[in-house]
Symmetry: C2
Subunit: 319 residues, 2 copies
């Protein structure tokens, strides 16, 4: 039989007689034949791989977002390639971007949790459908975004602490996406709204060690009774430093984390934190891209709402 007959039974769109179809299927099974997606793409123009560009793939939020993207992509028959962007230095960035863009792509997804994500977005050509997964809900250029709205989370956590009777809430921040991360904006907004002048932000990294350093500074200041941390890892570092300095949580100082990592509820004391659905964020981000490639029109950004989970690391301030 002819080559095109085989192609027809494989693609399934055109009717083929029962006998030929059966023979083709038998041969396919016997030979373990797999169509070559690259060749299909070449001729049909249909692209079935999406690239995920991210600063990091290990930290909880990043990894969980990637999981959501991969799940959704696989369900839709898309393959996911990952490209870690390690540096803003033009050559390194260009190299990493060029590497993933060298394949024919249906589109790209940028995990925009940090400043590097913003820069990555700028380095991508306008010709490619690009969407982003981000924290804070903001106006961010022309690329469709799926947001977590961690600004609302930061606000809620701060209001909760203030409502407990704390006169002020200190803040240990993760590195910011833009001027501030969304959660930092939320903290600040809630403070202003309550008529409290926000104390100086303690700028930290993402890891427990940098939280530990921040905790040591906080422990020296007797006016500190409540601390909002930019993530859970920071929070546990802060708590350890506090404990070593003889300050009790939550009796002397309340601590709130962010993200609700699996270990948070096992901590001593169980950590009050802001829960965010990263896996859902990943799925929603992929949906944005899927919609774009299907309809040809840029989709509208979407947003979700984090949720404050109150556990035992927070209480009213000491009398």
């Amino acid at each position: 039989m002819s080559l095109s007959t085989v192609s027809r039974v494989l693609t399934g769109r055109t009717p083929v007689s029962e006998g030929l179809r059966a023979r083709v299927e038998a041969a396919v099974a016997e030979l373990g034949y797999r169509p070559n997606a690259a060749a299909q793409t070449l001729v049909s123009g249909r692209r079935s791989t999406v690239a995920v560009l991210a600063r990091n793939t290990v930290r909880y939020g990043y990894a969980a977002t990637l999981q959501g993207i991969e799940e959704a992509a696989r369900a839709s028959g898309f393959v996911v390639t990952i490209g870690v962007i390690e540096s803003e230095e033009p050559d390194a960035m260009k190299g990493a971007v060029d590497l993933v863009l060298s394949q024919p792509l249906a589109g790209a997804i940028v995990v925009e949790f940090d400043a590097l994500g913003v820069a990555t977005l700028d380095a991508l050509p306008e010709s490619l459908p690009v969407v982003a997964a981000a924290g804070a809900r903001r106006k961010v250029g022309s690329r469709p975004h799926a947001f977590l709205d961690d600004e609302a989370g930061g606000r809620e956590a701060t209001e909760y602490l203030l409502g407990l009777g704390h006169r002020t809430v200190h803040h240990v921040a993760i590195p910011a996406t833009r001027a501030r991360s969304g959660r930092s904006w939320g903290w600040r907004a809630a403070m202003k709204a309550a008529g409290v002048e926000p104390p100086k932000v303690i700028q930290a990294s993402y890891d427990p060690d940098s939280g530990y350093d921040a905790g040591q500074r906080l422990a020296r200041d007797p006016s500190v009774t409540a601390v909002l941390c930019g993530n859970d890892e920071l929070a546990i570092g802060v708590m350890r430093a506090l404990a070593e300095a003889g300050r009790r949580v939550p009796d002397d100082i309340s601590v709130v984390g962010f993200d609700d990592q699996p270990f948070a509820r096992m901590w001593t004391p169980p950590l009050t934190t802001v829960s965010q659905d990263f896996v859902g964020l990943g799925r929603r981000t992929f949906q944005l891209l899927a919609e774009w490639t299907a309809t040809g029109r840029k989709p509208r950004s979407t947003s979700a709402s984090p949720r404050l989970v109150v556990r035992s690391s927070t209480a009213a301030p000491p009398a």
Copy 2:
């Protein structure tokens, strides 16, 4: 000029006159031209993407291994695609495998930390270069492996506890790769070598909650003075249950974790655990594949050694 001249300056292998080369480069820069890797692969047969197949991409060990693979791959000019294998159910497994194998691949890497990894290895065609990243050092068929040798880690941790004076060491296990995970084998081997009959293993999952359940059972047994956990998350769940039951760590019971996740040293008390270089494992695994594709010969498996990190969750048993 002709099409092939352009191709020549792009590939760089054949000499081209200075003038033409400059004009081509100018045009490339102006148009933002990127060669289509799929088309290159089609004609040259050179493959530049590797697939990573894994049960999970979020948990620490998996995520860190993936990071190592990606770093090494990017440095060598390879693109990484990920395929999460969620189920051993033939159709689901075949679907996921077919999806990633539909692209032209230089090879595949299987993260063989669990039984699903073993099954995935079996589902991959012999024709494709396939290597695996694994925990226990064992004889495992014909596919080259990079090992972590967590069996040695389990042995060392158990010997350490026994050396502290504990009469027995209980074990809370993560799901096994084969009959037992390497760390469980190591525990068992050390117990036998010391002439101690290993108590019944408490089988758990990976997460703190399942460690918590195990901890509740352990707390009821007064003969328990030392516990080796299959990972750090399990360990913190165990410790929380122990604390709630009024058992002190390490005074009443010593607890050892596995993996040395970033939070381990911030725990109260700081967790004694077995540190493993997952990122290095990922790099080594990729090197195996790179060597294979470069030389055409199957490389030999490699192994590393984990390291016991003694902190404050372990002590001599109560008098």
